[in-house]
Subunit: 511 residues, 2 copies
């Protein structure tokens, strides 16, 4: 049937059109059905919505994305179209049925092409959360995610990569691992994310030093020139299905296991990584509450790597406290740069960075040349690269290649001028340290949007502290945000100090 | 933070607002989060979406439903608000945890209040499809669905009701059961649906005879005046959660079992039914492929009824062929009215209507007065009421009470003037009869939107037919729709005729 075009100037991330309920009934159609919309020279399949008021009979409301494709036509033909086969495949997963490679590929392609509605994407993620794919299906999912996006083919090998499962604040180790590994002659084209619920992702940090938004071709060029890059994955078209799923995962606060494995490994597969080290923080508040949970995920990641021809090694790391003593973009960059310049800094940051870099030096091997470091010698080699200043020099090359200032020093990094110390209310030991609260306070101070906002930690778990000494300092560009974050911190302290004598009977009040 | 209001004149069935990505980041918020929107004298919680283009920084896009609540304010305050607790309860179901009555009630209330996004509603339905509620949770769900809508409290009892699980075409039995039962002195306030994927729901049929859209108060008044009513449930606010869920259920083509039980029984509970008969069509293409599946559902419905204080009796009925010989609103009404006038008509329609009405006469009992019919005598009493003309007289009273013409005759009902007979291609027996194809052909002819469109069936399963005799006739108000439906029918015949000799070896061509 022919309908007059009624453009709706609203972007909704999908091809969507709206008919009057009467017209939809005439056509025997309901909201959620698919329609073929044809104009001169253009034809798209769109998701139908119906209304009693927004669109008059005889007209079709066309949202921005679909309208762009239809062009300037005043009249279009709207006809019923079949629903995407993906919907029946998603239903098969619900019904305990195993999918074929083609069926999984069809789902991923429909996600990438915006052919599935929010309702359908949500059903997919919910189903996968409850019923995980088996390892064969997860391999197919990963391959489909790689193949539906851009890939980078490096001429030199080995290509190595590093990924963190996340969940620990202050985890700026990529700013050290990438230059150490690149300085040793390995290719490390690292893409990373921005913070969604955290105080700063690696991309939020690196952006202080240089631009991070590059195409796949640019990533290849920069990495081949200087050995490494620290780019924002969201700016590329590498494994794009993941980006389409994040919105619904966030809304539902779920992270389906098979999808998480596939999302991690598809990004590594698409950049042609030969060897990958996984940083897996374990501890309360992280994604891995126990070492056993970590081992189980490590096994699955290694298995998936084997299926894809990628050597994976997993490092379970201590996730109970922040890495280093800073949380928030500029504070973290300053801490990482200081360590590159001097070779020194907080033990937790130094140990973790050298361990992860060391693993990559041991597994970064090529057929003709062998591995960079022998088994057990990687960490010592990483330490030499750091203390010799070679890692610092490499980082400056990477910053320059990405378009930043290669003469930047840690002392140039500006931290929010407004600050407040939060003091120990008593003398004793730090007996409790709440990572999640530290992140909340950094976010209340404005991080990650305010790059100069964050928290500097003076006392960590088990340390001795005297009454009135600062436990941590809150920084922000804005006075009122320091105020807000401080009030929040004092209301529910993230760091708890007690004397060794925790309680005494009878209590003083009872004597 | 204060934002300038940028109204979006688009109804989307939810309170939704849109911020520029930069502003959302400043506030530490993401799409799917909730915000509190405050103007002078008005405050609502809305779902946040983010955009890079549609809304400038400093402005907030407000969709129609939210804008109505906000009023004429030019500026509003937007602040983060907690996500509905329902989301964490839905996640509990995913994680195999049992919900409390309060948690289930909160989910239902949030559904009714449009507090959940499409993504969240979809996750709820998908989860419930995979993980059913137990019988206690299903009772709580049903009670919450009753309590979150309007209820009807009748002064007279017993109140009886009838429900069909659906899945069989031509099922116009309510047009007979309601007047028979009401004529026997029972109160039967029947609400029913319109077709979504079928060729005509009971409301689509009844609408030919009288208006069907009434408030709960009007339903009470009409039913108390004449003993019965045939109203459209969608026009009332009775158990409204169901109406909010149908859109996503349709989009996903799922009908989660616990939700289906609760939706059925909440409508019966809300009108105060004491006794209910369930019509459960069994057979290929219905929701119940086998009698065993039917027994299992019957047990669950009876158990749920016990928990709610409603006596439920289930009748498994033959669902392999259409009920009667007509499919499509006007054709079905004509067939039902003819039977009310004459007491005669197709055996399948007559038997089924009398059986279901008979059960209600046997279980429609009051404390003081006993039951209308003794066990085993209901059907005979229903037959007497039908053949005596009392049911017809009662139907005319109901039509009049609903605002229709009480002098209407079956011969007044107009059928689509355009028609085409589909002929038997050979002499033999009907060896295959495809219900779903019959419905598709009726819909292709224009049903249910074109009330005069549909299919009249001349030959059913097992009947003898001669080559060239009509198997069925397609009717429509529009010539081209008859054409379209005929072509579709001939392409894939719903009724297959074969001689008793199905195949012969060697075949003719091989001789």
């Amino acid at each position: 049937m022919l309908f007059e075009v009624n453009p709706f100037d609203i972007e909704i991330g999908q091809y969507k059109v709206m008919l009057n309920l009467a017209d939809a009934r005439d056509m025997g159609m309901n909201a959620g059905d698919r329609v073929r919309v044809k104009a001169k020279g253009a034809s798209i399949t769109a998701i139908l919505d119906v209304t009693t008021q927004m669109v008059e009979p005889g007209k079709v409301g066309i949202f921005t994305e679909a309208h762009r494709r239809i062009g300037e036509a005043r009249e279009v033909d709207v006809a019923p179209a079949p629903k995407p086969a993906s919907i029946s495949y998603i239903k098969r997963i619900m019904d305990h049925e195993r999918l074929t490679e083609d069926q999984i590929r069809t789902i991923v392609q429909d996600i990438v092409d915006n052919n599935l509605s929010d309702v359908e994407i949500s059903a997919y993620l919910t189903t996968l959360y409850i019923r995980n794919f088996d390892s064969q299906e997860t391999e197919w999912l990963t391959r489909a995610m790689i193949d539906t996006g851009e890939r980078i083919h490096f001429d030199t090998h080995p290509v190595v990569d590093k990924h963190s499962i996340g969940g620990v604040p202050g985890n700026k180790v990529s700013l050290l691992v990438v230059p150490i590994v690149a300085a040793a002659g390995l290719l490390i084209p690292k893409t990373s994310s921005r913070a969604i619920t955290g105080a700063g992702g690696t991309s939020d940090l690196m952006e202080i030093l240089a631009p991070v938004e590059f195409s796949a071709d640019e990533i290849k060029e920069i990495a081949e020139n200087v050995g490494g890059i620290l780019a924002w994955g969201g700016a590329t078209n590498i494994a794009p299905a993941d980006d389409k799923l994040i919105k619904a995962e966030y809304a539902l606060t779920i992270d389906p296991y098979s999808q998480m494995l596939a999302s991690i490994m598809s990004k590594k597969g698409a950049v042609g990584a030969d060897s990958v080290v996984m940083d897996m923080p374990v501890g309360p508040g992280t994604k891995l509450p126990t070492v056993d949970a970590g081992r189980s995920m490590a096994k699955d990641l290694i298995d998936l790597g084997d299926r894809l021809g990628i050597r994976v090694e997993c490092a379970m790391t201590f996730g109970g406290s922040p890495v280093g003593r800073t949380v928030g973009p500029a504070l973290e960059v300053k801490e990482a740069l200081t360590m590159l310049e001097s070779g020194q800094g907080p033990n937790s940051l130094r140990e973790k960075s050298l361990s992860l870099a060391g693993i990559l030096l041991e597994i970064g091997c090529s057929a003709g040349m062998g591995c960079v470091a022998a088994r057990g010698e990687g960490k010592a080699m990483a330490e030499r690269i750091l203390t010799s200043g070679k890692a610092h020099q490499k980082m400056m090359e990477i910053i320059e290649a990405q378009g930043g200032d290669p003469t930047i020093k840690s002392s140039d990094i500006e931290i929010g001028e407004h600050s407040r110390d939060i003091l120990a209310p008593t003398t004793g030991y730090v007996i409790s340290f709440n990572n999640k609260r530290i992140v909340e306070i950094a976010r209340n101070a404005g991080a990650p949007a305010d790059k100069q906002a964050g928290v500097r930690i003076h006392k960590k778990m088990g340390e001795v502290v005297k009454k009135g000494e600062p436990l941590f300092t809150i920084h922000s560009s804005k006075d009122w945000e320091v105020e807000r974050a401080s009030n929040d911190a004092l209301r529910d302290m993230p760091i708890v100090v007690e004397g060794m004598l925790l309680e005494r009977y009878p209590r003083y009040s009872q004597i």
